[in-house]
Symmetry: C2
């Protein structure tokens, strides 16, 4: 594997004021999951106020033997919005992983891009006085901890440390990444279904070869683009234009412009599971059905797949382009649904065996969005 | 707390041939739980053949600053009889706990006396070339990991290490012993409900002041007594005579001589839960109802409590006095049920708040067996 180039390899110099844009952009790329951006931002603002803003460094600027750890939240987003983190818990998770591996981190990386899970690494980095890596392991969000390019291309998720609000810690170690997910899910459920998590201890070289580069910068750009687009009254058009200028997300289209006509959502086995139906405003009989498990997974128009995981289904407010996470879906919401190509690292045969439709119990095979549609 | 004296403070010199007696005696004191004695013995024999028999040392011979760790199986006995341990898993659990605490063990202790859980420390000690402590944390068996005198009198169960047959490890650390149980139970369920476990890292001084002394010797004596009693055709009479000569178990009586007329048992939330009814041979309408959760907890004769936890309800074969564990109960079995006083360390107010009837959802308060009956 060689690292994929990104459009803008320069590191992003995020200021505290940028956190709002980052939260919005990351929530968009989180495809419905990755945790609540509002809470993520509040927590990050708090940490930055107390500890200062961490420096953001590009993957290319990383030395091969640097120690990289990820920091994230694990659980059901429906629970996360009721059970917040203190920051101390996340810091403890990262420190304990450093102790256990005997390798304290030089830099913190996101494991996934998502509303909370792009902001929590900001908190960990700020509290520990470490830089933040412009990189993640998905270029989007996924519901399971082995569904990460670091794992797909050879980095073990464990030892992994789980910490809850009581600073209780659980350390999991297994050679089987899917078993790590199973055990950590059971632990997370027992610990209250919204817990802090540090895993994927790796070298700078491993982060370079297995990570999805530049996604923190892209999330920030998306947030800025939406904000700027609102001033011109066309945030969604601005957003699509920006996505088309990126390497990963350049194939994109609005799948539906409508309102949520049906919504079924439950918290089960540690996830937010369900589906929603978006009825087209132009033609109410034209329905888009979206299935989700923490993240939106597949969109079907009148039964036919129009975007399928690992390609991305994103739901935004029709007027403001504000990303809507699974736990914030409401009956009657006016939304636009956007289908987007994922990072190429997720489309290889190795990747599809971990994050492809089959892994989510979806019968249809993966088909790139640009092959499904002529106009993306 | 001061250590309670035991009748025979001399260390037991157990030979490989004694393992059969130890397994039988420990299964008896296990009050239906503590794991299968047959499998425990086979595993211990195997370890002793390969690694030699560990030396057994008395608690009084222990130096105050010695490092003591416990080794045990956690799970549902119904599962344990289908899913055996290799020994490597148990050894790894103890070693990892030593690494995490930075204090490698000088001696291995049982956490509970029970058919498997008195034999597994033999395996750990044999494999690690360490002595075995003539002591445990219950003087019987209990279903939850905080239900241990070490915990009741101030030793933390965590950090605790769980290891399964794939040598996957989970390390749990919490200040709350009941939470340790909750988390480890969830982990054990996810890891297959029969896992190896090392916990209660403590000093020799702590083992002296918080442990139930001499229980390995007593278990061995019980096993020997039953075997010798069989030759005289009266193993149960011999057993009762021996128990009356001990400090802990001296109040004892046969509660019922009958057959199992009803049995309800399920594996639920990680335990073997249920109850059985023993119908008296002399008067079939005279029924003894026994409730269990891994261990027998309370026996009621026609609705009235005749022995209640932490006092001990033990079920043995009517003829051979072979102890019968919860998972080996069968409809129609001819059994004698024996009620016995527990170790005094379990009867203090501190102890009853952890192992008393209320902790098992039993409404009746604890009442010592010698106060319930005039003839014990």
């Amino acid at each position: 594997m060689t690292a994929l180039p990104v459009k803008n390899p320069k590191p992003a110099h995020i200021t505290s004021e940028d956190l709002r844009d980052l939260a919005r952009g990351a929530a968009f790329l989180g495809t419905g999951g990755g945790g609540d951006p509002y809470l993520g931002r509040l927590m990050a603002e708090n940490a930055v106020r107390d500890f200062g803003m961490p420096e953001i460094i590009s993957v290319n600027g990383l030395s091969d033997d640097a120690v990289v750890l990820t920091a994230a939240m694990v659980g059901a987003p429906t629970v996360m919005i009721e059970k917040c983190a203190s920051g101390e818990d996340l810091e403890l998770a990262v420190k304990r992983l450093g102790e256990i591996t005997g390798r304290q981190p030089d830099v913190i990386s996101s494991a996934e891009i998502g509303g909370a899970n792009s902001l929590l690494p900001v908190i960990a980095a700020a509290r520990l006085g470490l830089p933040l890596l412009d990189c993640d392991g998905m270029g989007r969000a996924f519901p399971e901890i082995q569904m990460v390019t670091f794992n797909i291309y050879g980095v073990s998720p464990t030892p992994a440390v789980v910490v809850n609000e009581h600073l209780e810690t659980v350390v999991v170690e297994t050679a089987d990444p899917k078993r790590a997910e199973d055990i950590i899910r059971a632990v997370a459920i027992q610990m209250g279904l919204s817990v802090m998590f540090s895993a994927y201890s790796m070298t700078g070289r491993e982060a370079k070869t297995t990570g999805v580069h530049g996604t923190l910068s892209i999330a920030l750009d998306i947030g800025r683009t939406i904000r700027a687009g609102r001033k011109q009254g066309e945030p969604i058009r601005a957003l699509l234009e920006y996505l088309r200028s990126t390497d990963y997300y350049k194939h994109c289209k609005v799948l539906s412009d409508g309102k949520i006509a049906d919504l079924s959502r439950k918290t089960d086995k540690g996830w937010s599971i369900g589906h929603c139906v978006v009825s087209s405003l132009a033609d109410p009989d034209n329905c888009l059905d979206i299935t989700f498990r923490n993240e939106f997974l597949v969109a079907r128009q009148n039964g036919r797949v129009v975007t399928i995981v690992p390609d991305m289904v994103c739901v935004v407010d029709s007027e403001t382009a504000e990303p809507i996470t699974v736990e914030r879906l409401r009956y009657g919401q006016r939304v636009k649904v956007i289908g987007i190509s994922c990072a190429p690292l997720l489309r290889t045969p190795e990747a599809l065996s971990v994050v492809g439709p089959n892994e989510f119990g979806i019968e249809e095979p993966f088909q790139p969005i640009e092959e499904i549609h002529d106009d993306v």
